[in-house]
Structure formats: C-alpha cells, structure tokens
Symmetry: C2
Subunit: 317 residues, 2 copies
C-alpha cells in the first residue's frame, strides 16, 4: 500500500474523498491490516441510515436512487451510494448496462458513488459491502443507498444487510409475480411501483397487495406500497418521507439488530476462514498437487478434502 | 438416518428410485458419513453428460428442458433434471413460479426430477448440486440437465459446473443486453433464442451475435446461436444434436477438466471448513455470546473474528 492505514483513516476523518476511495479499495482487497483498520472505523461508532434498493433489471432503480439522493441532498443530508453489480469471472465487472451510464448525482455536493462487484463464492467482495457502509458512515455520510443491478442471490444477500429494503417494480415487465421472486419479496420493507405514469401501474399495485395478503403474518409489519415516477420525480418526496420515518423506528428494533449482528459475524468468520485456508494451500502447493491427483484419478476430491481438513477438524473436536 | 449408506448405495445400484431420492436428501443434509458414501459413488466412475440451462425468468427454460428431455428419452437415453431455485430465507423455497407447475416429463420412463434450493452463504446446498450430479450418474443417468430459475450469482455458480452451459433468451423482454448480464454471457457455450416464433427473434439473434463479436477471443470457441420454439418443439432436435456433439468434444478437454477439478475441490473445502467451524461455535455457545457482545458494544465484530480464528490462523502458519 502506498499510504498507511493511519494516513487513510486520518484523511477519512478530515473529509478527504480521495482517502475515502482508497480506504474502500484497500478494505475490499483485504490489504494486510484491514481488520485493525476496520476496528478503528467501527469504534468511531458513527451510524448512517442504510437503504437497500433492489428490483428486476429495467425497473428504473438507478434513476430512482438518483432522485432519492437529490431529495436528500436538498434536505441537507450527505449521501453515499453503493452500486452492486453481478461480476464477470473474466472481466471482473459488468460488461454492459447500468454501470457505464454517467450518474448525474455523483457531481452533487456531499454525494459519493461507488460500484462494487459481487464475486464468486470466495471472492468476499459481496460481503465487503458491509465494511464499505461503515467506512462511508465514518466519513460522515448520513444516508447510504445500496443499489443492485438485478435480484440475484448475491445481490439480495448484500441488500438485506440494509436497515430498510425497498423493492422496485414496474408495469409492463410481463408477469410481475414471476419477476418478483420469493426471497426478494420477503426481505422487502417497502414496495415502490415505479414508472407509475405507465399503463398498468395500478394493476402492479393490486398484484403486490394481493401477494402481501397471501404472505402477511403477524411477525412482520405489512410493507407499504408507494408509487413513483422516477423520470419526473413524482412521488419521490413522499417516498423519502416514508423511508425516513421507517428508519427511525428500525434503529430501535433489537431483535432485528440481533439477527443482523449474527449475520455480519458469520459473514466475517466464513470469508476469513476461507481466505486463510486458500492462501496457505495455494502458497504451499498442496492445492496444485491435489488437483493433479484428481485429474490422474489417484485420489477422489472427497478423500483429499478429508485429508486436508483433518488437522482443522481435530482442533475443533 | 432410517437406512444405512450401505442400503442406499445398494438400492442405487439396483435402480431403486426411492434409494436415489433418499441418498440425495442424505447427502444434501450432510448426514454423518456422507463423504465416505460419496467416495464410493465417485469411485464407481460412471460419468454422465451434464448440461446447464440458464437464462432470465420467463425465457421458457423449463419448457425447453422438458422438450430436450423428451427428445433424449425418444433416443433411448435416461435423464436426470436438477431444478435450482433461489431459496427464500423464510420459506426455504420458492413461493410462486416455476416450481409449483407440474412437470409432464417427470412421468416419462427413465426421467428423474429433483428441485434444489440455493441457500445463503453457508447453506452449502448450492454446492451439493455437484454431488447430486454424481449420485444421478452412479444411478445410471446418461444425461443430467441442471436448470436454473433465474440468473442469480448462486445459480450461475451451480450451472457453470456443467460440461456445457446453454443460455436461453427470448424476444420481448425489453433490452436483451440488459437481461443477459456479463458473467452469464461468459459462461455460455451455446446460446438458444427460444420462442423463436415471436416477433423480434431475429433481432435477439443479431444482438447476441453482436455481443459475441465484442467478446470473442482466441481462448474460447465462439458459442453457436440456435433458435427454438419450446412450445411446439421446433428446433429442439437440432439443438440436442448440437449439444451431443459438443459434449463429446468437451470430455477430452484437459484444461477444462483441470479448472473444474480445482473448483470442485475449493467448493468442498470451503463448505466443509465453514460447516465444521459453525457447528462447533453454535454448539459451544460462543456464537451466541459473541452476538451479545456486539449488541452491547462490548466488542466489535472484527475483534471477535480475530479471536475466534486465532487458533485456526496459528495452525495454518
């Protein structure tokens, strides 16, 4: 690293956007010492309201995120945006689509936009989103919007770490029931029917309400359904007001905080174990020789796994 | 377990569908002794051609899978179908959609259909798909189709373990470029434009070809683009013929086998480590007390992770 963690954290506290960006990159890359740095960021204790924005491709999530941001900036709040992208195993990022578009809001005062790729099972970048939220909060962001490109499993995992999850749907995407899959439905605290100026918006609202009737239970509050037209900004002030009052209620919900704390811990533990183990086995050549053993049929992958994990298993007994 | 692994494996070899189903469940659940059982299944050495079928929701993947299955059964092959579903954190399965539909092909002779949920980060069910493929192969299936509901990251991870990945797209889903995300594009060995009887099919073919022009490189063979109409079965015989000749070429590709072997090993190692560690921490109460420490701000999650992993890290040094 060109700069020390001390420099980065000092820059962060002084409001340097450059330090913010570099600190995020260093934590994403799990640069040596990242955990110590995150302890300091965490102990700072600054909290931001975190809003997840998800929904099928083409539902206008980016435009809506931009309009919400604009509204928040007008009200004097500073905003961080994390755009989560399904990543490519080859290019390491999205090939085409939302990410290449310029974002008007990124030039507003107090707004910081960051794209993150969701990597494969062990990439861990997905999980780093939670760390990035904390870094942005320590920098002084009041509200952080996590926006996904689609509704893939990884994107859902990221977005559900938010204090409040907004599911955006639109008329004219064929069968709304198909597009809004189970699992996404159930993490939504708030439904937004976007492009409400299009024909069929009321039918989408009715469909969503019908699904909520079907899924409603006494455990969770019934999510409200709001209409917006992100292109014109219609309905956005009402949406932002609803979000803010929901965020205030949320911060007092201990059972939700408990679930989130456990999820975060499990995430950290899992990615760290995987990282430690693979680092060692890639370095000492045992991974390469194991692959050769499989290819030549000398050993099967199950026996190799048992052999490699025997010491870990013995320690845990 | 009601039955021993010996009974299940004996039943499997004798062609008992009931043993097949129970063995899959036991391996999915990581029932005690599952690795020993998988060693025996693996050493059997029976291989099947594995075809992944993926694409956006509504592209008709299920119907196409059914038509391909029908065609294969006519030709005397036995077929296994694994339908991969994004799972819900609450219901543990899909709420609505493809999975509730009856599948006509499931009553064909020699066809076995199994649904699997993709669980969260530690669920491991996703990764068990590879084990299920081996169990189906040992049972005697010639061809195994892995079909996903959507194109989520987890689903892609599952489908890319196939010998050959088919990406299904359709006209009329708005911007095809948006729907076919990077990462999905790049794992596709074959593109199928389904519902080719609809207007716009030729435009989708042209879009896909244009994307392939953009992404083509000398490392991978350019994937063919075929048209089908799954409802009528049009184009399906040609598709099956193409798939079979591609599968034959594939089995000789050592560099691909090497990549797959490494991926399988990493998957097995990671899920087993995570399972071992979390089993211990959940049993000995250290997870519960750690969560309380976080909620009461006595400790931060980063420090707890370091403490809990210190012995593992020390062992790996």
């Amino acid at each position: 690293m060109a700069e020390s963690w001390d420099d980065l954290i000092a820059g962060l506290k002084q409001g340097s956007v450059r330090s913010l960006a570099r600190m995020i990159t260093a934590v994403e890359n799990r640069a040596s010492g990242w955990m110590e740095a995150m302890k300091r960021v965490h102990s700072d204790g600054r909290k931001a309201g975190v809003i997840g924005v998800t929904g099928p491709p083409g539902s206008g999530k980016s435009s809506l995120t931009d309009k919400i941001t604009w509204e928040l900036v007008q009200a004097g709040r500073s905003v961080g945006i994390i755009a989560v992208d399904p990543s490519s195993p080859y290019s390491g990022g999205a090939l085409l689509g939302d990410r290449v578009r310029m974002r008007d809001v990124s030039i507003l005062p107090g707004v910081f936009v960051r794209s993150m790729a969701t990597r494969g099972a062990l990439g861990g970048l997905t999980w780093a989103a939670h760390d990035v939220v904390k870094i942005m909060a320590a920098f002084g962001k009041d509200v952080i919007l996590i926006e996904t490109v689609g509704v893939g499993q990884d994107e859902i995992e990221v977005v559900k770490t938010a204090d409040l999850v907004m599911l955006v749907c639109v008329p004219g995407q064929g069968d709304a029931i198909q597009a809004i899959k189970a699992g996404v439905m159930e993490i939504a605290d708030l439904f937004v029917v976007n492009k409400a100026d299009l024909d069929g918006a009321d039918r989408v609202v009715a469909d969503v309400e019908a699904m909520l009737d079907l899924c409603s239970n006494s455990v969770r509050a019934r999510p409200p359904v709001l209409k917006t037209a992100a292109c014109t900004g219609g309905g956005v002030p009402e949406l932002v007001a609803a979000v803010q009052s929901m965020l205030e209620l949320r911060s007092e919900d201990r059972s939700r905080r408990k679930v989130r704390a456990k999820e975060e811990l499990v995430r950290l533990l899992s990615t760290e174990i995987a990282r430690l183990v693979h680092e060692k086995w890639n370095q000492d050549g045992s991974m390469a020789s194991a692959v050769e053993d499989i290819l030549s049929s000398r050993k099967d992958p199950y026996s190799i796994t048992q052999e490699m994990l025997a010491p870990v298993a013995a320690y845990l007994k």
